[in-house]
Amino acid sequence: MSTAAAHDDHHHHAPTGLKRWLFSTNHKDIGTLYLWFSFAMFLAGGLLAMVIRTELLEPGMQFVDPEFFNQMTTVHGLAMVFGAVMPGFVGLANWMIPLMIGAPDMALPRMNNWSFWILPFAFLILLSSVFMSAFGAGNPAAPNFGWTFYAPLSTEYGPASTDLFILSVHMMGISSIMGAINVIVTVFNLRAPGMTLMKMPLFVWTWLITAFLLIAVMPVLAGAVTMMLTDRHFGTSFFNAAGGGDPVLFQHVFWFFGHPEVYIMILPAFGIISAIIPTFARKPLFGYASMVYATASIALLSFVVWAHHMFTVGMPLAGTLFFMYMTMLISVPTGVKVFNWVATMWRGSMTFELPMKWAIAFVILFTCGGLSGLMLAITPVDFQYHDTYFVVAHFHYVLVSGAVFSMFAAAYYWLPKWSGVMPNKLLGELHFWSSLISVNLLFFPMHFVGLAGMPRRYADYALQFADYNFWISIGGFWFGLSQLLFLAVCVLCAMKKGEKAPARSWEGAEGLEWEVPSPAPFHTYDTPPVVK
């Protein structure tokens, strides 16, 4: 595999058109591909969510049958987790990490190309089953067991398309592992002279730790789906009680992957927020070192909390207590982070440009989601909340108004660097306020219906939940449509329509990425900068 240094020949003939993107080994091009792909998946997954909310607009069965509804919840979850959030962060890593550490490119550019180009095919395979289902092939044609694909729903009772799902998860896993390896090798070996580990921007730090998490748990996910595959077709019984296996084992293996996965989807967000808040508060980040240690402790703790997703399977008391205390312990380093962000803003010369608006919304709404997570961690309480809309509200607060909002913040923050023009202010403001109001209309009432006992993953509900669900659906449609404004913002930037951005696009911005012109030239930092 050629290294970045061997590759930075300025005079080589750069391919144009489709070939530029297909064969690209340039971290900026690949980053762009990742980001567009992630946005496309965000819209596709959002479309499935619209089907869910349309059906739940009123009680009773209106538009789809329950079987199809189950496929919608399943594929919505998979597309958002593996298609939108994870590739979105990998795209940001590709674009920003080399710029932030003064490296000419990612360390393993060809592998970088490969890890992106696997993804569209993985999702083609997964989403093809939805199209088959929508056009009436097979019943059910798409995976219908929830994104957590618990055995035996996905083994004995799984539809034929489960095998498509398994193949696609394997491909996504390989792509993520390669992406993570690339990040680690780049950060370890390609830092500019003087860029010590403790001088790295926090986005690089959080991504480095995320990459280690990815390498630790994506193979476990691959193991879980491999066991499913052999259970389904090759006569093993890992999860089949009839043959001496245990379906509960599946949940342990899955959540051993699943909980670190949750942090894989939020740690890079912490890095983004830690870059944006100091810029617009015009103060250095409060407690840099404690941020690094907090991130590392969250990552380590994430390996010993997985069973809090399965309190109700019947664990010994000592087991539930252990997982409950460990889970609550995670709120300590997370609290450190929120404290540091607030302390950074404290007495800062704050201005509220678009990235800062998103970042502040992130801090507040993510903390709401964290708080409901703390409630869910309490075992006896969890018995009441388990698999209700309260859980749905919790993880959408941390994933949508957490991870996704942080990516919007990142996009508005770095779009000037990527495209050379400032994002359209009017559309951006509309997008922000519209999303902020609708996301709360969408997810906040879910807490109430959840506490009142509305179970998740059902196509229908009891009459007393009708009013709340009506407004939740309205919030859903509103939030979904608002994202078209963001599409407009991105398209305008891509077409270079807008105010020209200076190299340091934001007054208070610090860091190596602002030393290069906007838009960032195709090749940057051929000779490493010197970091003092």
């Binding site: 595999m1 290294t3 360390a107 370890f188 193991g223």
Partner: protein, 184 residues
Amino acid sequence: MSEQNLQQRNQRTLRKLIIWAVAMFGFAFAMVPFYDVICDITGLNGKTSTTASTEGPSQVVEDRTVTVEFITQRGEGVSGDFMSATRRVEVHPGEITLVNFFASNPKSSDIITQSIPSVSPGEAARYLHKTQCFCFDQQSLAAGERKEMPMIFYLDPELPRHINTLTLSYTIFDVTDRVAATNK
């Protein structure tokens, strides 16, 4: 740092990380036996021993009565009856008790079944000793046969005081195809 040097360092880091990823893939499979061992030790998930208990109870605790309930379920594809002769028994810890189960095969072909026990609360699984059980072996049912299957058990006199009721659940599975596949 020369270019050659950097390339070597990248390769080295890459190799280490790939080894780690492969090891974690193996770890997923290592979780399977590890889980079984944990279940054995803690009685997690209410798994009872799969072999007959060879030693009898040390004593009978006459002053204590525990309710043992029986639940039977049919796994996918089993169409016959499967039930216990009694829904519940009151026993003293250490008292040896026999409970009969019945299974029938209404199909026109012979089937082989396997029953899987589970105890709730899981904590009690370690204290339930079976000297004989139809679940230790696969049971074959001829076409149209109705079979009586005895199960003899006693509760350990050491059963924790706070457990007054325990439920023993059996799920019966049709493993005919599975057996045929392994005998091929």
